[in-house]
Symmetry: D2
Subunit: 438 residues, 4 copies
Amino acid sequence: MSKGTVVLAYSGGLDTSCILVWLKEQGYDVITYLANIGQDEDFEAARKKAESLGAKKVFIEDLRTEFVEHFIWPAVQANAVYEDRYLLGTAVARPCIARRQVEIARREGAQFVSHGATGKGNDQIRFELTCYALYPEVKIIAPWRIPEFYNRFRGRTDLMEYAKEHGIPVPVTPRAPWSMDANLMHISKPSLQSTDQCHECVTLCVFQSRAPADLYLMTKNPEDSPNVQDVLEIEFKKGVPVKVTNMNDGISKTTALDIFSYLNEIGGKHGVGRIDIVENRFIGMKSRGIYETPGGTVLLKAHLDIETFTMDKEVRRIKQGLGIKFSELVYNGFWYSPECDFVRHCIAKSQENVEGKVQLSVFKGQVYILGRESPKSLYNEELVSMDVQGDYDPCDASGFIRINAVRLAFTLKSKNGCLLKPAHTYASSFFIYFSSAG
Amino acid sequence: MSKGTVVLAYSGGLDTSCILVWLKEQGYDVITYLANIGQDEDFEAARKKAESLGAKKVFIEDLRTEFVEHFIWPAVQANAVYEDRYLLGTAVARPCIARRQVEIARREGAQFVSHGATGKGNDQIRFELTCYALYPEVKIIAPWRIPEFYNRFRGRTDLMEYAKEHGIPVPVTPRAPWSMDANLMHISKPSLQSTDQCHECVTLCVFQSRAPADLYLMTKNPEDSPNVQDVLEIEFKKGVPVKVTNMNDGISKTTALDIFSYLNEIGGKHGVGRIDIVENRFIGMKSRGIYETPGGTVLLKAHLDIETFTMDKEVRRIKQGLGIKFSELVYNGFWYSPECDFVRHCIAKSQENVEGKVQLSVFKGQVYILGRESPKSLYNEELVSMDVQGDYDPCDASGFIRINAVRLAFTLKSKNGCLLKPAHTYASSFFIYFSSAG
Amino acid sequence: MSKGTVVLAYSGGLDTSCILVWLKEQGYDVITYLANIGQDEDFEAARKKAESLGAKKVFIEDLRTEFVEHFIWPAVQANAVYEDRYLLGTAVARPCIARRQVEIARREGAQFVSHGATGKGNDQIRFELTCYALYPEVKIIAPWRIPEFYNRFRGRTDLMEYAKEHGIPVPVTPRAPWSMDANLMHISKPSLQSTDQCHECVTLCVFQSRAPADLYLMTKNPEDSPNVQDVLEIEFKKGVPVKVTNMNDGISKTTALDIFSYLNEIGGKHGVGRIDIVENRFIGMKSRGIYETPGGTVLLKAHLDIETFTMDKEVRRIKQGLGIKFSELVYNGFWYSPECDFVRHCIAKSQENVEGKVQLSVFKGQVYILGRESPKSLYNEELVSMDVQGDYDPCDASGFIRINAVRLAFTLKSKNGCLLKPAHTYASSFFIYFSSAG
Amino acid sequence: MSKGTVVLAYSGGLDTSCILVWLKEQGYDVITYLANIGQDEDFEAARKKAESLGAKKVFIEDLRTEFVEHFIWPAVQANAVYEDRYLLGTAVARPCIARRQVEIARREGAQFVSHGATGKGNDQIRFELTCYALYPEVKIIAPWRIPEFYNRFRGRTDLMEYAKEHGIPVPVTPRAPWSMDANLMHISKPSLQSTDQCHECVTLCVFQSRAPADLYLMTKNPEDSPNVQDVLEIEFKKGVPVKVTNMNDGISKTTALDIFSYLNEIGGKHGVGRIDIVENRFIGMKSRGIYETPGGTVLLKAHLDIETFTMDKEVRRIKQGLGIKFSELVYNGFWYSPECDFVRHCIAKSQENVEGKVQLSVFKGQVYILGRESPKSLYNEELVSMDVQGDYDPCDASGFIRINAVRLAFTLKSKNGCLLKPAHTYASSFFIYFSSAG
């Protein structure tokens, strides 16, 4: 008798194929689910493989438009960057994938979901928090955290052997010495994603060593990229792109998926969006990651520009803080949480007037903003000019400065006694400077 | 009889030369003060000019080392960036210059200081808040805010005429159609800095137009920059660089001024650090700025990398917030304020273990981090590896995730009634997704 | 010929009566405007006085309901408290008053508005920022900042004399030695609000001295308040009270104005809401204030309680930060600003489920929460109980704790070398404690 | 053969006595450790009981002075309050207790520590994070999370039975229907702390019901408290109290422990510091808590007052944010973490000038600030007075206000088109008001 039905997030690769068979061995009915979020994959081959391995049903779902519109766009609105550098390409994909997975599980009456994420990473958390948030009664089977599983499969060799024994097709090409997450938004090569890498991936584990050139898949090496720039014009409404036009050849795109794919193409061609960083995982360990996010990088720069052009200064400050919060929440897997919902709502509200066109050039790994225009611009040409006959009276600035100085001037007077105290190294303490002034 | 003594921040240019003479006309004794903070200037010529125009004393002060150590280094520690893009090159220079100015004023018994900053910009505020904070009794003469002055000098023509009448040497080369602030850290070309630009500087005022190529002085055009990258190793202690080595040719620098100058040289050679932005001035108007910050940009990237490598995750989050606060304070002119003093102290404290080496390549306008190492690294190679026999038990992650989900799962249950409510556009609301799930 | 029309915020008192006449002397047509925001005032007498002094028109506007619904309620939703103590009673009234004032000015075609606020306080800013925000072209006449006015009226004696000369009725009762701002929300007695107090109001200026008992008008002295508590039940919807019921006698109120007035009555009867504080004004000086906010204090405590009961923990954290921001903005006079509008929107969004009833007792200056209930409660009785057969598995907590400790444990290990370094006084440094552990 | 040595945090009560015997049954050597942090306990009786039950060693440690100086004082400096209401009395005690426990474990060569905290509360986390942070290799035995234990002891009856069987003295008085945590700082009665309460403690579990009068132990019922107030003068240095004097009778205290104990005595006598709240536990569930914190409440009010009097306004704002962060960290158990260490350092720095005397009265459950004085006051009597001949020029305020309005005025102008859009309920939107103004 079946222990119940599992919806397994299936990639078509060796790991999740072994998990499929292993789950069957454990007595479960297995439904496989493969989300198309823009990765380079032979989906039909994956379908056949799953069926041949005994999946009761196979779902292959094209989530690309949904991924761009409901997950990437809010990240663009937020200027989402984790720890000042990582554009969250994997993090925004996980809730998109898991949401559909539990939808299928509910629809198919499955009590279980399963995935192949490892026990030390962020992805297990992102997957499972989404599952619990949207299907609180669900039970999750995470083989890489189950001792019977991970003790049995201690490396790639064990998986290969198991595959051979159970008729699982074994990849013929040797595997890259790093694991990879690929989707429309980015390709990541975190240091460790599977069990058998540790002895191999010297590249990413050891910090002194550099990432090899063939690590990069979405972006050209800037040394080999074109010597002629592409100039793009991106049009935004409510903080999201609604049109991109290449000023060189007039090509333009207007649907969400087309726009983002085109920005990936142009960004990738010019080597934009490569980073090599160390980041702090939610579970408190540091790891190294190599990411390529061509389209996302172009959009971040363009959105920052049009936003500052059209958004009030002080709203911007508050929104910047909310964007940082959003990034942390998404990184940690809390896309589907009351607080992330709240923050997304607030950020969306802030974007109502973020509208206009940004021109930029893409060249040798860089994005250069060239200009912007907007019907909602808060830039006041007359005001900023020197024409003092306008509304602005320069004398007002004197009062403004003196009132701002009231507090500062009094502070010094009231602290006269401690003018000579030693200052902290490099802290440039307020009161150190008059030691010689007597 | 003299109205008193004024210490005038003198640049040697047309504007402040006219101010010098005008102040004398008004009955003041004028001491000129010119700070060397790394700008390209003929200081001796400026001295002679000031003397010939009747300055009672002339001070030319080399503040370059002080500028790097006491002003740029704290900005590096803070990862100081205003509104996500501007590296504050002008803002950190102002308090450095003004501090010495009031020091001279105190020493020389001058009750007045004066400067040539305009009445709509940030610099007047940065100068004057520093003056009031460090010399509360000082009186400030800001001619561009005095109606008798600005009504008399309505454009460059008026200044030229006045110059001719009063024996002020007039520049022979035609002036660039934009004003400029240059120092060791950057060159800025804000849209408006002087009185006669408005009809000229179409370039910067109109947003649709692009900055012309000859606008850039510190950085090569990336199209013309070398096709071979430079690889640098930067060593940090307490969050500031103590050594830079070029891995291509072995050249290395070890003093603050040498290090920063060398990073400017290499960064500039490869076209690093150009931005074209709109920013929000303190006084509430938006303005366009074109900046070149080659060395600062290299350092920002390198410091971010070594900091994340050596700093605890949660300390980093708190420090990131303090860094944003620091940037706003410095931008607004509050370097010498109790709060900026406090924030600098806290940031300096956070840097105690920010130590190690970062390798990076500089190429075609970009900086690529290649690797890092540190005796204070918090990266735990054993922990992050898949060797489950270590301290880390993957089963713990199950508990971690489930406890984090307690709140999320209950929220959904308690809101079951409103699952179908419409969501905000692009806000990806929490509860929209099961409209079809029944 | 008239210089134009001024809408003067008129209180009926000596100061603004003198201003009315003085404005006429200066050649303006004067329209007086008196807002009823719940202060104790003879409005008809004020009307007659204004008419007799030559006001061209007299507007007396009952803004009480609007004040409660559109200004006090958002403050309740925000838990608005400035600097941890001040409930913003004056600050929320100013934009309400000034908004109507500029509405009248626009309608009557007046180019000017005027008020009697002093030149060192917050109120001038709150008034004028509202005016500029809603009527950007308006010109403001602030007599207490005009040298001809303030040099002429250096104290109450000067005003009295001017009044006698110009037929302005002079108050017969001696004036309290402090000025006062009263409205529905509170009565404040800031240290200095008018010109002639400084030699008189020893009470508030000198910090060592205590506020005299007769200073308090809205609240009973707790020593004299009833020995029997009142028990109230307050019902909230969307974060604002919709009903209050006295459990002692069954009295209940259901309109905004009635609810707030009744809470003032009960709070005042029991001496609730008195504070004596030093606060930081926007313009950077500290001042002492004595405030009575009976109804507001009751509501703050009740709202905090129902909010925590019905709001997700992490939403609460973000909203707490927004509430602090809101309080600063309102204190500084930025009610009508893009950022305050944005923050109010976000806070209102957070209140959607803040619904339910709070019971509390009011007694001898204190408010004690007794219990709460809500259809939107996020309290999970089953979960919090010890019935381990529920969804919650205590073993999960072990994993949760161990994962949270990953970072902590490694930090100590990696810092082993510096365990014995001396710690900061009282800072309880992390690493001091094992000095004896060897 | 022994499985090893356990240091058990022993209270002398039924639960931990059973745990002691159960641990022995499981094969461990047990060392008991009882911290004196000011709770009302017969320590010698507890020692004898532990010895009679087979503890190999018994440690009874007087941590009271350390608790006040190293844990309560930093909380006072921080104005530490969790979720706007809870003063963290239990949370600050846990790291103090656990720190000594691991010190003993290290010294005695014990590999294990154990405690009697339940599996749903915060205390388990606070204990264990401290243990892991300071003794990373330690193993923790938490019986209430071990199925063999909690399934065996499903209620008080099971514990009583086990006690009888194993010669554990059974309490003769019936137990209060709630559990309790008591220390110098407070007494808490959270809804659920032990296994057998759920059917009993109707009081705390059901929100509609009120806490019974006999629940309170540290504080008099305000209805029964004295009709005469006590007036205290508290002197602070570096943000911590160094002396308290009763102005009624001249009694004064000067050591940390004496000061805090005396404030408890006076606060308790007048019924100060009672709250009944719902709070959010770290693990994401809400729980009800009844707390009494007499001395802590007095100190919070006094410290807030002297701090605002002596601290710069903008430093205060930043420090307020750090204080909220500190409170969350301490509540969640992260006292010994890099981030809490960092925050404590920053807060301690901010307290350098927090010095002076506060007078306050304590009466019927309330604390009223009466006045304050300080050699480090930043209150500027001359400045705040109306004497316009001073440094302050009221005209400056006009410029200050107009510059602040630049942004606001332009915003309205640029949004003219959308003046009539509908506003959010109660959000008092910026642009709603002129719908009638045309």
